[in-house]
Each structure stands twice: as structure tokens, then as C-alpha cells.
């Protein structure tokens, strides 16, 4: 290693004046895009997360599809194969799992002190840190969703019509925003990544099995039907499933027959919107404290 540090004058070669103030919004965008860029550089150099994130749903489609191959005819609806039924569950679950992990990189940044680098900088708003993570996870989820839809189509589950595809995208987006917010909130509340991983671990699979991802409500005992219809994931799964199976869908289509009544596509979307709003609001106090 060389020890010479070139002696040239730091101040003389560049304009010494403090920078002309840009608008807060353009500053916010500058820092957000730089932080987002960092996450994408990481992804590009370490693509294993994305590769695993595409292989895993593929294995689900194939393995779970095989597991329930001999299920009684008509269980999933008339003329519906399990593969067709399962696609929506895999889409939602993959997006959910990805978003649930959103807090991990932030937690590592906290633990390794990289977050301090961001917090000593005169950021226009520290919400740029949160927004950058959200943008990154959303893009990841949309890539995964596209891959699952394509694989599902290749495996014979068909495709929703074009507006249906947009609806699938919108539902994934709402769910990812909500869950990413919760995960980021946890990343600023828990003491370390071990704790965060533990929370992710106990949340992930129970929410999967207590939803309509793998089996229809009619297959479940009544108490589980109640749990599954209180699980926000079911409100993402059922509309997607519906637009997969019905090209004539509308907002008033009934997508879920809960033990306490029927749920239309429109009201399922409202439930998701509410879930996202509650998630975003609930992390505010914690973020404000962390960013004070």
C-alpha cells in the first residue's frame, strides 16, 4: 500500500461558495434516486435474491400443483384445475414474502453503521431512506409477479385479460406497500436482525396457511374460515383468482363467500387500501422517533 497522499490544495481548485439551494423536492428526489440506485447495484452484483425469488414460486407451482393433483373434482370450482387455482396464491405469497423482508437491508445498515452515514447527511427528508426501499421492493415484486404469471401460463393456468393484468399489478402494489411499511417499521423498532428474522419467520408461514392461498374456504373448518377471512392476504388472493377465472369480472363481482357474508371485488380492494393506509400510519410514530 502506498502511503503518499498527494498534497494539492483542496479548497483552491473548486468553487468555495456554498451551493445554491435547490428546491426541497428536487433534493428529495436526488437522494431517493441515489439510495434506490444503491439497492439496484447491490441486486445486479448479488442477483441471488432475485434468482431465488423466481425459482421459489416456480417450485411452488410445480410441487404444490402435484401435491393436490388428486384432490376431488370440483373442489376448486367447476372446470378449475389446482394449477389454475394456485397461481393467485403463489403471486400474493411471493409478493408478501419479498415485502416482509424489506426491513432486513435497513436493519443491516443500522447494525453496520451505514445508516449513520445517511443520518449525518443533510437529507431533505429522511423518508427518502424508506421510499428508496419501497421502490426497490415494489420493482422486485413486479418482476417476480410477471415471472410467475408467465410460468403459470406456460404450465396451463391461462392468463387474465389485459385489464385483469393491470388489476393484478395494482393489488400486488397495494399489498407490497402495506407489508413493506410494516417491515420497515419493525426494522426501526427491533434490536437486531436476529429478532427481525424471528418475526418474519413466525409471520410468514402461519399467514400462508391461514389464507385462501392453497385451498378454498369451503375446504377449511369454520373457525379457520373466520381466520382466513380476517387475513388481509385473502383479500389480495381472491380478486386475483377471480380475474384469472372470469374474463367478465367487475368491481361488483363476488370474490369471497365469508362465513359472515359475501365480499365483492371492489370491497376487497377497499380492504387492501385500508390495510395499506393503516400500515403506513402505524409506522409513523416509530419513524418520526428514529428520524428525529
Amino acid at each position: 500500500m502506498s502511503t503518499t497522499i498527494t498534497p494539492s490544495n483542496l479548497k483552491s481548485t473548486i468553487t468555495d461558495s456554498k451551493l445554491a439551494p435547490a428546491s426541497p423536492l428536487s433534493e428529495f428526489w436526488q437522494e431517493t434516486s441515489a439510495l434506490t440506485r444503491r439497492l439496484f447495484i447491490q441486486l445486479q452484483r448479488r442477483p441471488s435474491t432475485l434468482i431465488a425469488g423466481i425459482i421459489q414460486p416456480l417450485m411452488w407451482l410445480i410441487l404444490f400443483g402435484a401435491l393436490f393433483q388428486n384432490a376431488p373434482q370440483g373442489l376448486f370450482g367447476s372446470d378449475v384445475s389446482y394449477g389454475q387455482f394456485l397461481g393467485a396464491g403463489v403471486i400474493v405469497f411471493t409478493a408478501f414474502g419479498g415485502a416482509l423482508n424489506a426491513g432486513l437491508p435497513v436493519m443491516f445498515d443500522r447494525e453496520f453503521g451505514f445508516l449513520n452515514r445517511l443520518l449525518v447527511a443533510p437529507l431533505a427528508s429522511r423518508y427518502s431512506i424508506v421510499l428508496a426501499s419501497a421502490i426497490f421492493i415494489t420493482v422486485m415484486s413486479l418482476i417476480q409477479t410477471t415471472a410467475i404469471i408467465a410460468m403459470g401460463a406456460a404450465l396451463g393456468s391461462g392468463l387474465p385479460n389485459l385489464p385483469g393484468l393491470f388489476l393484478v399489478g395494482a393489488i400486488v402494489l397495494l399489498l407490497v406497500v402495506a407489508v413493506t411499511a410494516l417491515s420497515l417499521g419493525l426494522a426501526f423498532s427491533l434490536t437486531g436482525h436476529i429478532e427481525l428474522i424471528a418475526v418474519i419467520f413466525v409471520t410468514n408461514l402461519p399467514l400462508l396457511f391461514a389464507s385462501t392461498a392453497l385451498v378454498p374456504l369451503s375446504f377449511m373448518p369454520t373457525w379457520l374460515q373466520w381466520v382466513a377471512t380476517l387475513n388481509p392476504l385473502s383479500y389480495a388472493i381472491e380478486p386475483i383468482r377471480y380475474v384469472y377465472l372470469h374474463s367478465d369480472w367487475s368491481l361488483s363481482s363476488i370474490v369471497l363467500q365469508a362465513p359472515w357474508g359475501s365480499v365483492s371485488l371492489g370491497s376487497a380492494l377497499l380492504v387492501l387500501l385500508g390495510f395499506a393506509a393503516v400500515a403506513l400510519l402505524s409506522i409513523q410514530p416509530r419513524l418520526r422517533k428514529a428520524f428525529a
Binding site: 435547490a22 451505514f114 447527511a121 443533510p122
Partner: protein, 339 residues
């Protein structure tokens, strides 16, 4: 000229631990100011309060005439912070980290480009900058971190233990660099628990112990205040204790000798405090000769910063380090460092 940094009556506690009890400092523009103290003395907490990472319980902090507590965002613009543990993203190249840093300080693209090239050249990073920073040695990482801290040309560069864990070459390189930027007008505030670092580098020093500033001034002022010269005497390379004690009694009776301490850790050598600028060295040698005691080694010196610390706290910096190491607990440390 207004001070670069003013800290007044700073206080911060973590649970039952009073990390900072009463710290007041005034740092002049264009000087290197050293904060010396053992681990756990409150140095890092003081810096974290200054750099807006930690909110103090009480006190006032002014940087470039901006109140850090009232307007933290403006204050950040004037501060550069180089943490003790180099926090770089191993996957990014050095250049990518600097580009991120430039965006966080909202430098416009062309200016960012120019500044990045400048700091790369200044810190001799040319051959490393486009490699992933995970491949860097400790010294290169530190240089990259310094480069990042200087990118926005802060008025005050704050460094927490800048040379811990560095090899001697890198250490000297960092010292020289800090002197250069000081000469160009940047105010430098650094913490250290290395006596020689503060002695070699700092224009002014504050010694901090258990959250309180116990002495402040130029290194030479502080040493003068302690008074007396120091003589280190070794009768033999390893003296038996009874012989050392006999010598101690003998030397204590000399008028120029103020105090004699037997240092068990150094083969029962004798540490003497003597009247400054006296002929004590000769007197001591003559007395030993007359008593028939040999001399393995003898040296006279002015007091060191450690003597200043010893005089103020009754223990050496090394003893304080050892005591502090035993009392640190993981939970409090994590609470202090994580956000």
C-alpha cells in the same frame, strides 16, 4: 472570529449510565482539537450529539454559528463525520460510494464529478476507486471514508478514533492528511485514546474522563500545569523489590526529588517526579553510586499527557482503559450506537 464549534454543558444519559455529565468545549476555526480519554469516557457520545445522531438531554451545541439542536439540517451541511467503524457498502465500488455521498449532500452532478476526482487524487485512491470496497485493506477503507467525509467540504471535520486498527504507515498518512486540511482552513475535531496521537496532532486538547472535561489547553500548557520533570530509573533490568524499595527511600531524601513510585509492571523500575530544569539527573546518579547501587538505565523527560491524566484522575490512561473494558455491557453499547 466566532468559534467553529461551541459545546456548552452537554449532558446525555443512557438508562442509568451517565455517558456525558458535563462537557463544555470551544473549538477555534482552523485548529486540530483532540478529545483524549479512555474508552467509555463519553467521547463518542459527545461527537454523536454534535453530529445530530444523538439528542442530548441538556446543553447547547453551536457549529458555524448554527444551533445543532434547533436547526440540525443546516448544521449537517457544515459537518463532516468519519465514524470509528468504517461503514462502507462492500458491494459498491469506492466511486459509487462517493457518488451516493455526493447525492446525499445534494451536490449537482458536474460539481460532484469534480469533487470526487479531487478527493480521489487527494487521498491517493486512484488505483482502488473502481474496485469493490469489500476488497480494500483497513487503511484504504479509512481513506475512502475520509474522502467521503470531505466531499461536501465541511467547515468542521469530526473524526471518531481515526486511526484505531490501522497499521503505522496508514496512521502516519492519516495524520499528515489531517494536518494538511487543517492548514487549508478546515477545523478538525478528533477523539483518541492514543496519547501519542493527540500529542503529535492536536493544537489543543481536552481530556475527558467519566463524562466530564477534566483539563483543556495546548498539550504543552497541560504538561506545564502538572509541573515537575519525570525521571525513569532502572537499577537493574529486573530489580528485586527490596532493592527497589531501598533505592526509593534513598532517593526520597534528596531535595530535588518530589515523589518516587515503584512500577511493578516494568520490572520494579522507579518513576521519579523531580523539580523541572534541575540537575536532578546527576544528583540521583551520584546518590546511587554513593550507596553502591548500579544503574541499568536512567532517562529524564518532561511530563507526558498521561501524567496530566494521572494528576487529574489519580490513575493512568491504561488503568482506566482496563477498568472501562470490564464495565462495558453489550446492551448499552448497542443502544448508544444504533438508531
Amino acid at each position: 472570529m466566532a468559534p467553529a464549534v461551541t459545546i456548552e454543558k452537554l449532558q446525555k444519559r443512557y438508562g442509568s449510565v451517565e455517558a456525558v455529565k458535563d462537557v463544555s468545549l470551544q473549538i477555534e476555526p482552523g485548529e486540530i482539537f483532540g478529545l483524549l480519554g479512555p474508552n467509555g469516557a463519553g467521547k463518542t457520545t459527545t461527537l454523536r450529539c454534535l453530529c445530530t445522531l444523538t439528542e442530548p438531554d441538556a446543553g447547547k451545541i453551536i457549529v458555524s454559528e448554527i444551533s445543532v439542536l434547533e436547526d440540525p439540517r443546516s448544521a449537517r451541511q457544515h459537518l463532516g463525520y468519519v465514524a470509528q467503524e468504517v461503514a462502507i457498502d462492500k458491494v459498491l465500488t469506492g466511486r459509487e460510494l462517493l457518488q451516493l455521498q455526493a447525492a446525499l449532500y445534494h451536490l449537482p452532478k458536474p460539481l460532484a464529478q469534480e469533487r470526487i476526482n479531487l478527493v480521489i487524487q487527494r487521498l491517493g485512491l486512484e488505483s482502488y476507486i473502481d474496485k469493490k470496497s469489500g476488497t480494500y485493506s483497513g487503511g484504504i477503507r479509512k481513506r475512502l471514508d475520509l474522502a467521503a467525509g470531505l466531499l461536501h467540504q465541511p467547515d468542521v471535520l469530526v473524526l471518531d478514533e481515526p486511526t484505531v486498527g490501522l497499521d503505522i504507515e496508514s496512521r502516519v498518512a492519516v495524520w499528515n492528511f489531517l494536518r494538511q486540511i487543517r492548514d487549508e482552513g478546515t477545523t478538525v475535531l478528533l477523539t483518541s485514546h492514543y496519547l501519542e496521537e493527540v500529542d503529535a496532532l492536536a493544537d489543543r486538547v481536552a481530556i475527558i474522563d467519566q463524562g466530564v472535561v477534566i483539563a483543556a489547553g495546548t498539550p504543552s500548557e497541560l504538561k506545564d500545569q502538572v509541573g515537575g520533570d519525570r525521571i525513569t530509573l532502572r537499577i537493574r533490568e529486573f530489580s528485586p523489590l527490596d532493592e527497589a524499595e531501598r533505592a526509593k527511600q534513598l532517593l526520597e531524601s534528596l531535595p530535588t526529588v518530589q515523589e518516587v513510585i515503584i512500577n511493578n509492571a516494568q520490572g520494579n523500575s522507579l518513576n521519579l517526579v523531580v523539580q523541572p530544569q534541575s540537575d536532578a539527573l546527576m544528583t540521583v546518579q551520584q546518590a546511587l553510586q554513593a550507596a553502591g547501587l548500579p544503574t541499568f538505565g536512567i532517562a529524564q523527560s518532561r511530563p507526558s499527557l498521561d501524567d496530566v491524566y494521572l494528576a487529574a484522575t489519580g490513575r493512568t490512561l491504561l488503568d482506566a482503559e482496563i477498568a472501562a473494558a470490564g464495565s462495558r455491557d453489550e446492551k448499552t453499547e448497542r443502544k448508544k450506537s444504533m438508531r
